[in-house]
Symmetry: C2
Subunit: 246 residues, 2 copies
């Protein structure tokens, strides 16, 4: 885990390019960030990629192979959207901020292989470790406490933030849905990083980024997806969450 000191915010590559500010107290130019999505060929990652590209970001869709990444990117293409596909390692290397949307099975292995290109960057984990049986969905026990904490344990040179767990992939993919009516709970131990991710969430119309605690409290946010699945089944809905009084 990073300390809170802004000196330890390694993605602020001062002087590297004009998209990243040299002054700590000026936030980065969020609209100019290139967003990489590991596991972008899946529904959650693809849907987030679609929406972030529609918001003006250059989005890089990563998959296990270059071909699968390019195929997934082609499916998400549309007027005014800049979406490119590549393998996960290339995406991790090129992007400013990386969203991890891979299946829980293989989460650790995928990240272990990408430690070097992800170093110094903000990594947003949106993976929900879930099991399913005849009784429905349930949260899996994770030795590290959560997928996000596992990512932080593996990616010791990155700044891991947990976010985007509860966004409906169905709504993200449906271009007739203009706004996504949900708050995005953002968790992490580095204030500048969680602020950036909250601002990124707000690039998608209807979404609001809400800081919701340190990474050690990510497990219940991930597991809450099982409850939303139960809600969706009972009420035939694509449920999201709004935090009231904020």
């Amino acid at each position: 885990m990073y300390a809170r000191s802004p000196d330890r915010a390694p993605w602020r590559r001062v002087g590297q390019d004009d998209r990243v500010t040299a002054t700590q107290h000026v936030p980065p130019d969020v609209p100019a960030l290139t967003i990489g999505i590991l596991g972008g060929s899946g529904p959650q990652g693809g849907g987030l990629g679609l929406r972030l590209a529609a918001a003006g970001h250059l989005v890089l869709i990563g998959s296990r192979s270059t071909e699968r990444g390019q195929e997934a990117a082609a499916k998400l293409a549309g007027p005014g959207r800049r979406i490119e596909g590549a393998d996960n390692a290339t995406v991790a290397e090129r992007a400013d901020v990386i969203i991890v949307a891979v299946p829980w099975e293989g989460h650790r292995e995928t990240l272990e292989a990408l430690r070097a290109p992800l170093a110094g960057k903000i990594v947003i984990d949106c993976v929900n470790p879930m099991g399913f049986d005849k009784g429905g969905a349930f949260g899996l026990q994770v030795p590290e406490g959560s997928a996000a904490q596992q990512a932080a344990a593996v990616l010791t040179d990155s700044t891991v933030v947990a976010a985007f767990h509860h966004v409906s992939a169905v709504l993200l993919a449906d271009e007739s849905v203009e706004t996504i009516d949900t708050d995005v709970l953002v968790l992490g131990d580095d204030r500048a990083a969680t602020d950036l991710v909250a601002a990124l969430a707000e690039r998608i119309p209807g979404m609001r980024g809400i800081y919701a605690g340190k990474l050690r409290n990510a497990g219940q946010v991930e597991a809450l997806t099982a409850n939303l699945i139960s809600i969706n089944r009972r009420y035939k809905a694509h449920a999201g969450l709004r935090v009231t009084d904020v």
Copy 2:
């Protein structure tokens, strides 16, 4: 755990009194239910008692001793509110539906001592097993998975439902707040019981009861309270949750 069969809904004491319907498919007369609150001298239990009394329920405030229960009831008294105090065992005996709002420390012991009077009744557990340190709040590991599952393991002759975890005690106690703007996530394995508890939540203006899964998915709902505490600190709020698209 009870099976879903309405035949196993033991609180439907047919013919016992006119508040409980004799026909399984007609819901019970929710407004006529007497609500008992174990740990009603605490802020969460007291606040719920206040609101349910204001909604017209006879509310019985339980505490360890008759005197403390009566003192707590006296503090909650007000025009048109029927609130009585007693010891927890008396409350468990007299009430139709019982809310467990005791501190997590002592949760198991309190329920073990009340197995007999709680038999055949709906027991609503709203306890959040939480720890606090200099980093803030965090969810405690519970061997049974959650406080609600622990209650179900102890109270094998009751029907346990989990609900009311996220309601702000501050807002509940503030009589100038006329509506409590939050959804109440209701979890349980018995459909009739979760329906009843959802209807009970809706007796409080502004609240909506939302079925959110089986009892095995209660742990993350309880632990999410740690996230709401983080949100409250960051945004100086009394945060609640709304489920969107329902």
